[in-house]
């Protein structure tokens, strides 16, 4: 397949269109504005809709409305913008609607800066909005993987009627790599949502009702428990991870997204010196591959978590390891990307 030289943000946008997304609502924010710009140029070419809202609050509610109509819909933003969207995301999860969010994370908290970071991990995986809900979260390490996960995200969102988040960072969003795109999905082959979507009764059926609102605690609890059983299915079926050079590893480096890619070169460096180290890279951050990671505690002497935040992801690693082995941490924050040499030096300190 013919390749193009794409930016991360452009690759994600094109992948969404290939997956059948014809509705995009967005608001520009660095370092993901190129995704919004790409959609503004591209949607008219494919007969889709691009609409810039007056804020991320408006945008998330546009996504809510479009998702209720049963169509594939997406938005993208960066950290502060994603915070603004949290209320709407909670409503969307409560109303059980499929849609895809992209957060190209930058340095925080607050306005922070525009450099790459992974400090929105808690917000992404533990619920940034209110109520008992979950986002399904995928995090790619490369542009090609971002393309695959974006397209897959729409399928997963449809399968569970739940919002899916593609969590990436400014580095992946801005870097350019050769990418090949799969063929366009046939719009007529997309999952049928006519059993619940608000698509017009044509005066031939009862109106559908899609809402997160229920005044009766008993029936709301029943609904919440149904959503929880759906989440159990997600945990059972949707865990994704990569194992790199783990077969004989005595040290397991755990990292995700761009960091997951950077630590692979640390492993190569360490292996040249005869140090038996490998990488466990969760691709789905929720559901987190607790059991799959835990398995390595029989073999490893310790786990070493590297992240572009001050210690968020490491908490899930600790839950997985259950105190059976030490879990070490190294991280940078505020948009500083740890270099392979820096991580390698820290690894040598730990040995």
């Amino acid at each position: 397949m013919e390749k193009v030289l794409a930016r991360g943000t452009e690759a994600i946008a094109e992948a969404a269109i290939r997956a059948g997304c014809r509705l995009y609502f967005g608001y520009p924010i660095t370092p993901q504005s190129e995704l919004t710009e790409y959609m503004a140029r591209r949607m008219p070419e494919v007969g889709g809709v691009f609409l810039q809202g007056e804020s991320e609050v408006a945008v998330v509610n546009m996504v809510y409305g479009a998702a209720i109509a049963g169509k594939r819909v997406m938005t993208s933003t960066s950290s502060p913008g994603f915070s603004l969207m949290q209320e709407g995301i909670s409503y969307i999860a409560g109303a059980e609607l499929p849609c895809v969010f992209v957060n190209v994370v930058r340095g925080g908290p607050g306005l922070g800066d525009i450099q790459p970071a992974q400090s929105d991990y808690f917000q992404a995986t533990k619920g940034g909005g209110h109520g008992d809900y979950r986002l399904i979260v995928f995090s790619p390490e490369s542009l090609q993987e971002a393309v695959e996960l974006t397209m897959y995200a729409f399928d997963v969102a449809d399968r569970y009627r739940n919002p899916v988040l593609l969590l990436t960072d400014g580095l992946l969003g801005q870097m350019m790599e050769p990418v090949s795109f799969p063929e366009f999905v046939d719009l007529d082959s997309l999952p049928d949502h006519s059993s619940w979507a608000l698509s017009g009764t044509g005066m031939r059926r009862e109106a559908h009702r899609v809402s997160s609102f229920d005044m009766d605690p008993v029936s709301l609890e029943k609904k919440n428990m149904l959503i929880q059983s759906k989440y159990k299915e997600v945990v059972k079926n949707e865990i994704l991870y990569e194992e790199y050079q783990l077969d004989d590893a005595e040290i397991v480096i755990v990292a995700y997204g761009t960091m997951g890619r950077i630590v692979k070169s640390v492993v190569n460096q360490a292996r040249e010196k005869g140090i038996k180290v490998g990488v466990f890279r969760p691709i789905s951050l929720w559901p987190f591959p607790y059991v799959q990671l835990s398995k390595w505690s029989d073999q490893a002497s310790f786990f070493f978590t590297v992240e572009m935040s001050t210690g968020q992801f490491v908490e899930d690693v600790k839950i997985a390891v259950e105190g059976k082995r030490p879990v070490e941490y190294y991280g940078r924050t505020a948009g500083i990307i740890p270099t392979p040499n820096e991580i390698f030096a820290k690894l040598m300190e730990l040995i």
């Binding site: 794409a6 370092p31 800066d113 801005q174 790599e177 050769p178 070169s265």
Partner: protein, 224 residues
């Protein structure tokens, strides 16, 4: 031809769509200019791109004894468009050869409009950089449309096209050949000549080009 143009003109302006490789070409041209000129300045006018800009290669450029003009250091990573006043000074200083790296797309190029008074008093040449492997510049029609939009924004004509078609480490002879063919067609229809084809110095010996070959160092490499 390139050699002649470099000596002939005082101000060299690089524009193009986002990610076309303007910055890399601009840096390489500045280094080339330095071979025969005492005073060379490179100006970072990119108000559109957050990463991978001239200012991110400051040390390398200063090692080449180039005068690098960027926003003040404390604002280097600010998410706001800053054009320092000294830019105008370099443009009309006859002792300097000046290279302008202008931000991507028509919005980045808008900056040039604001410098019009200085540019009109400078012997300047405008290059439009194209990588036909980038989205929205993959065929003749797209490229022509972009040229028309950008010329409107900068309120003047583009003088030369530059073929910067590549696919990073996966670049082949065929890819460059196809890129040159597309630009040749664009050139025929717009009457803007293609000045040169940029080729990474790593593969330059193996690549044959239709237009003058300009081997360049690629400054923004793969990230690990």
């Amino acid at each position: 031809m390139l050699e002649h143009i470099l000596q002939e003109y005082q101000t060299h302006i690089f524009i193009g769509m986002g990610g076309s490789g303007k910055t890399e070409i601009a840096i390489n041209i500045a280094i080339k200019l330095k071979e025969k000129n005492e005073n060379v300045a490179i100006v970072d006018l990119d108000v559109a791109t957050p990463y991978f800009r001239v200012r991110d290669k400051l040390d390398e450029l200063k090692n080449n004894n180039l005068r690098v003009v960027t926003p003040p250091e404390r604002y280097l990573h600010a998410d706001v468009p800053i054009i320092t006043a000294e830019v105008g000074g370099y443009l009309v200083n006859p002792k300097f050869k000046t290279v302008l790296d202008v931000g991507g797309d028509e919005k980045g190029a808008t900056v040039l409009g604001s410098l019009k008074n200085f540019l009109d008093n400078s012997k300047r040449v405008i290059y439009f950089v194209v990588n036909t492997k980038r989205p929205f510049t993959q065929n003749e029609n797209n490229i022509k449309k972009n040229i028309i939009q950008i010329e409107k924004k900068i309120r003047t004509k583009i003088d030369f096209l530059i073929c910067n078609t590549h696919l990073k480490n996966e670049t082949t002879n065929l890819i460059i050949e196809e890129g040159e063919k597309i630009l040749e067609n664009v050139s025929r229809e717009t009457n803007i000549p293609v000045l040169f084809t940029a080729v990474s110095e790593k593969i330059s010996d193996e690549i044959e080009t239709k237009f003058e070959k300009f081997p360049i160092k690629r400054f923004f490499k793969d990230y690990y």
